[in-house]
Amino acid sequence: MFCCIYAIDKDNSDYQALVAFAARFSPLVEETGGDSVVLDLEGTELLNGPFTDFPGRITRLAERERMAVRAAVAANPDAAFHAAHGLPESVFIEPGKEAEYLGDLPVENISHLLADITVERLGEIVGTLNSWGISTFGPLAALPTTGISERLGPEGVRIQQLAKGKTRRSIIVKSTGAVFSLSERLEHPVSSRETLLLVLAGYLEKLTAYLKAHHLAAAGFELETRLADGSTYARKIQFPSPIKEYRTLKKILELEIEGFSPSSPVTWVRLELNPGKTRMIQSGLFTPDTPEPEKTELVLARIGKIVGQGKIGSPEVENSHRPDPVRIKRFDTGSVFRKNRHMDQSPSARKQPATRKLRPPLAVMVWMGENRPIRVQTTDSGIRKGVSGKVLVSAGPWLTSGEWWSKGKWEREEWDLQLSDGTICRVYHDLQSNRWYLDAIYD
């Protein structure tokens, strides 16, 4: 269970005092939004009493310390956050009844920080919801998720999950007592990456032992160095799941700074580990194997060094009509368990042949006859085999265009072709550049 304590009069309240107050009830405190904190209450019932009485007790204790607060206890931190901010009184939300308690809150109350979007984008989505007649959490939660995904994209789905009160996440802990950071002005400046790694390995060993003593794991790390010429080098990385093994963290740190060649000696270094709660998973007898989070993180870091950042992860199809509306998001085995099969993944009703895309599209030469392609040819492009042949069957032209209001404007004429060399492909004529390209191969 989680408790959110919200400072009602945030202009006159001391935020650090609020954080220190919260730390008395749980060692796991997240500073959320600058006016509230979220506590992880798991295992504190003996210390703090029953969770049902906790919100009232917190409010009374805070009043004695001249802090005006509202508290909400719920099964997940986001539901507790919205309840503390939006409801008129401190409340305990029974697990499973989040939607009931949050149903009447206005959609404007949704936190852009928890939805992980900008304030402007949240404003746009709220405006759209209002135009549909949706003004509170309840009706938003009742809408079909597929429709939300198609019209508002993945951000809309995240906002709906917040409205339902069904999100699950780990809080990012910033313990007031312990700071998991080491910094040092180096007596002998370090000129090479290998020596720097030795220094950092020593810090890392101490910090991971420190974390272990607090029954915590590393949710990410921050590295900062200052060089003799005044420049700085910094790296910051967040893991999808907290890691507690020293060797895994050391390897990830090594891979992260692999490309760093100091232009002048390093004179000052700081390494900080962001604490997170150790994840406990109970595997089932009949559930399929999953990649171990710690091992996966290390493997992804290794492969990322080979193929480049941004080239490894889970594919995601964006809600757009533009050609190839695909992006790569972080691969996270943990979050997949918490959601049902993604609602916008329903197979197409009309079975279509599978396609293989060409990225980037390959320039081709096309001969036309009676306004239809009659021959296509391209040369072998590096490692990739080209296409060449007469057109046996053609389908098209299919005109498509979009985003005429922006720099990403496209306008093309698409053809599906069956060639004499056996290839069945899609080519398009870019009407802006007047060039032909091979876009995809049906296979």
Binding site: I306, V326, A354, R356, I383, R384
Partner: protein, 192 residues
């Protein structure tokens, strides 16, 4: 194909010419695996994987790890090695389908044996999609896709590509590690 992949610890080579149905076969297999909530890895040598097409085939993209190698074959082979040794994935697909056959033929055979041993250890199914057969004795089984016909619908002015019909031929039947060990010792195993 399903019968082969159900056996696990299998290295299956899928070869065939362009537009012979290899990708459709793989997507169908990934759709079944992700429907069972299993995680699959796709090591894409030429960035050809189309998530839109995969989604339409029923693949749950949240259970897919996609590694784009941007035409670097050696990166693709290294990435496949890392993924197989890491474990946790039920299906690992190495897609080198769009690479020129003469380059594929030059890949040292030792890679395929290495992948085979890693596959047997990890318990995954390793699917190699290639334009021409190249794994030789390294694979547990090999199938070839052959296109039979292409169906178009509609009048000539408004034609639509409906479907590509393909057939898979088993070039090398599956033999489990146990069967191979038994064969080496001169023992015949009866299979049901």
């Amino acid at each position: 194909m399903t019968e082969m992949t159900e056996k696990r610890r299998a290295f299956i080579e899928i070869s065939g010419e362009r537009s012979s149905g290899k990708t459709g076969l793989i997507l169908s297999e990934l759709a079944q695996a992700t429907a069972r909530r299993e995680f699959c890895a796709v090591i894409d040598a030429t960035d050809s994987f189309d998530p839109v097409s995969a989604r339409n085939a029923g693949v749950d993209l949240n259970h897919i790890l996609w590694i784009c190698c941007t035409g670097k074959l050696d990166s693709a082979l290294k990435a496949a090695d890392y993924i197989l040794h890491a474990g946790g994935f039920s299906h690992v697909v190495l897609d080198i389908c769009d690479i020129r056959p003469e380059i594929v033929a030059r890949i040292p055979r030792s890679y395929w044996f290495r992948f085979r041993f890693a596959t047997e250890k990890s318990g995954a199914v390793f699917l190699l999609i290639t334009p021409v057969p190249c794994s030789g004795a390294g694979s547990s089984a090999a199938v070839e896709c052959v296109r039979e016909k292409v169906e178009w619908s509609g009048s000539p002015e408004y034609r639509l590509l409906e479907t590509v019909c393909a057939r898979t031929l088993i070039r090398k039947a599956f033999r489990s590690a146990a069967m191979i060990k038994a064969g080496n010792r001169g023992i015949t195993l009866k299979t049901s």
